[in-house]
């Protein structure tokens, strides 16, 4: 491998390690705190005749500006990172935890492949958003999540569980179908046939013979799926659906225009809030959108370098 390629490979590992570290320790390196006592109502400064109040534009104190409560955007993003990227990771892991054994067993045994194909068609023939959004949209309002419930409210927990279940269900069969094909391919190989003849059980064939051969494919598929889950979560956020609680904040003096804001800085809630206020306070969606895109780029770069290292394609 050339020195240049090696350098890119090292960079990919460095960036992914940095992403994981910031995700885990983001709340410890926040430049500002996010407690109720750290809210800003007014500043001792004027813009023309008007007293300055949040949301504040990016400035030397708040590099990416603040939200409507005066919370620093960088601090919100750093604190919320673990919730968003963690939830995406958890959904992807659950999809693989169910879909991978299901697909491998169906592919290796040849049983249930038709049912798997049917389920795969049902869950992938239309955009995932169309299947998942109507359910979550109904639940979001039905469980009164639009009223700004606190993060520990039972309705928030119930919604989070249903969100997880729906997001896992929608992607499981596609993974199962993909790996059923691979297992069926390996089932025709001589070493698997020999193992069958020697009396190996289906579980042994799948987990001792087929699985080790598709390890890299699984890791690539996992990362690709992870990006897909993050994109789906982003689309749902733009449509006003996100996991986590918040608080109801008035956007005007009379309390006519109310909005639910996240107390943790969860990115999807920030995207949802920023999308509504894009024309008045663009820095909110720009900052969280940039953080989201950079995270996706890092995962994509890592995936691409891994593929180059383990599955070189000649061009």
């Amino acid at each position: 491998m050339s020195q240049k390629k090696n350098w890119k490979y090292v960079l990919a590992w460095t960036l992914i390690a940095l992403l994981v570290a910031i995700t885990l320790f983001g709340s410890y390196i926040m430049p500002h705190q996010l407690g109720a006592e750290h809210k800003i109502v007014f500043l001792n400064a004027y813009e023309g005749a008007k007293k300055l109040s949040p949301p504040l534009k990016p400035n030397s104190t708040f590099l990416l500006g603040t939200d409507h409560r005066g919370y620093d955007m960088i601090s919100l993003i750093l604190n919320g990172m673990k919730y968003t990227l963690g939830l995406g990771l958890l959904i992807t892991a659950c999809r693989f935890f169910i879909g991978l054994p299901l697909g491998l067993l169906a592919g290796a045994s040849g049983r249930g492949r038709d049912l798997l194909k049917t389920m795969q068609w049902l869950t992938t023939s239309v955009p995932a958003l169309l299947l998942i959004f109507p359910l979550l949209y109904g639940l979001f309002f039905g469980l009164a999540l639009d009223t700004g419930l606190p993060a520990d409210h039972p309705n928030i927990k119930l919604f989070s569980i249903i969100f997880m279940f729906a997001a896992v269900f929608i992607g499981t069969f596609s993974i199962a179908g993909q790996f059923a094909e691979r297992a069926a391919f390996y089932s025709d190989k001589m070493f698997v046939i020999s193992s069958k003849l020697m009396g190996a059980s289906l579980w042994r064939i799948v987990f001792r013979h087929i699985l080790p051969n598709i390890r890299s494919e699984i890791s690539f598929a996992f990362l690709t799926e992870y990006v897909g889950v993050l994109f789906l979560m982003g689309q749902l956020a733009v449509l006003g659906i996100f996991v986590g609680g918040g608080e109801k904040v008035a956007l005007d003096d009379v309390g006519y225009d109310m909005i639910t804001l996240t107390t943790t800085g969860e990115w999807m809630a920030l995207i949802s809030y920023g999308a509504i206020k894009i024309r008045n306070y663009p820095w909110i969606i720009l900052s969280v959108g940039a953080a989201f895109t950079i995270s996706v780029w890092i995962v994509q770069f890592f995936l691409s370098e891994m593929k180059k290292r383990h599955m070189p394609i000649s061009r």
Partner: protein
């Protein structure tokens, strides 16, 4: 038999989407069968209740009236019209999940659909949607709004994906640049594209008094095009570029291409004349997932630009009280499946079917046919 199976699955899918879309009906915060009817001092509540068929006095002291299940809202209006009634209102209850109310609402909705009533929608001008009209009246315009941006975007995605994949394969240095751009675009979610274009439009509008780009729908006649077009085009074109670039690279290592190059044909001629026809199957394979992405992006772009197309209407704030979400979701699903059907038919017409032929024969044919074409081309 196969057609019946797919038709059945399609129907099952629509029913599933319809049932899922109605889940909000299972959550109730107001009693579906109790009303509070306050009457003026000289009026007798019992006499008022007797005037309304189906209503029964539940508790005179608390002014509670029982009406047929699920009809509380319509009975509120009926009571309000009676002389001597000061106020008729639904009774708040502690929030609960009721499957009875869910099935009742779904049944009620299906009955209305069967009689040709698709529900109500809000419409208006200058982003002020205050007029309630029949949903069937606006559905046609919504479909037109969505299709008029979806189809050009998909066509542009196919053209751009194919064109850039061919350019990247012909010119290697250009290929490196395009691959790098492709890498960055793969990581950009569709909603970020909308944000960037909206912010650019706002930024540049500071330097001119003319309107550069229409950001939001102001009235039914002025519908933004550029922002949804760019958003919907991005993801499918990136998907197509990636797939076709790999497909062309795969074909370039085939024996018949090596033969063609050895015979002195230029790289561009080989790609345009011989490789392109063999990567058409890859193009048709990527079209359905690209269409799914395009429709998801359509929803996002229309929602962010307040367009009253199919996607934008799903999240319209007033929709929370109007039962059009199930119908819109089913319409979008039908649109997706119709496009999949179109690709299937086009694929059948344009691609060579090798399914019923013996695998060995197919291998032989795929090896021989292009080589023969290459030979003919080289001789010419």
């Amino acid at each position: 038999m196969k057609i019946l199976k797919w038709a059945g699955l399609g129907l099952f899918l629509f029913v599933a989407i319809f049932l899922l879309s109605n889940v909000s009906k299972a959550f109730i915060r107001l009693s579906p069968e109790l009303l509070t009817v306050r009457v003026m001092s000289q009026t007798n509540l019992k006499a008022v209740v007797e005037q309304v068929p189906g209503a029964v006095l539940e508790n005179e002291k608390e002014s509670l009236v029982r009406v047929p299940y699920g009809k509380a809202e319509s009975y509120t209006f009926m009571f309000a019209k009676i002389q001597g009634v000061a106020r008729a209102a639904r009774v708040p209850i502690s929030p609960q999940f009721s499957m009875k109310h869910y099935f009742f609402s779904v049944q009620d909705q299906l009955k209305a659909f069967a009689s040709g009533d698709l529900g109500q929608a809000m419409t208006g001008a200058n982003n002020n949607f205050t007029r309630q009209v029949s949903f069937s009246g606006v559905l046609k315009q919504m479909v037109i709004n969505s299709i008029s941006v979806l189809i050009p975007s998909l066509a542009a995605a196919v053209i751009l994906g194919l064109l850039f994949a061919v350019i990247a394969s012909i010119y290697r240095s250009m290929g490196k640049v395009l691959d790098a751009i492709h890498f960055f675009l793969v990581g950009i979610p569709d909603f970020i594209v909308v944000i960037v274009v909206i912010l650019l439009a706002i930024f540049f509008s500071r330097f001119t008094t003319e309107r550069l780009i229409l950001i939001v729908q102001l009235n039914p006649k002025e519908v933004p095009f550029l922002i949804p077009f760019l958003t919907i085009t991005l993801v499918p074109s990136v998907m197509m570029y990636g797939t076709l670039r790999n497909a062309i690279a795969r074909e370039m290592s085939e024996g018949y291409i090596v033969t063609a190059m050895a015979k002195g044909l230029s790289r561009s001629r080989v790609i345009v004349r011989h490789v392109l026809r063999n990567v058409m199957a890859d193009l048709f394979a990527v079209l359905p997932p690209a269409t799914k992405s395009a429709i998801a992006s359509l929803v996002v772009a229309e929602a962010m630009c307040n367009i009253t197309g199919l996607g934008g209407f799903i999240v319209h704030p007033l929709n929370t009280s109007i039962s059009t979400v199930p119908l819109i979701c089913v319409t979008l699903a039908i649109l997706t499946l119709l496009l999949h059907g179109l690709y299937f038919v086009l694929g059948k017409m344009l691609l060579v079917n090798t399914k019923e032929t013996d695998r060995a024969q197919v291998k032989e044919r795929t090896k021989q046919l292009p080589t023969a074409a290459v030979r003919k081309d080289a001789n010419a």
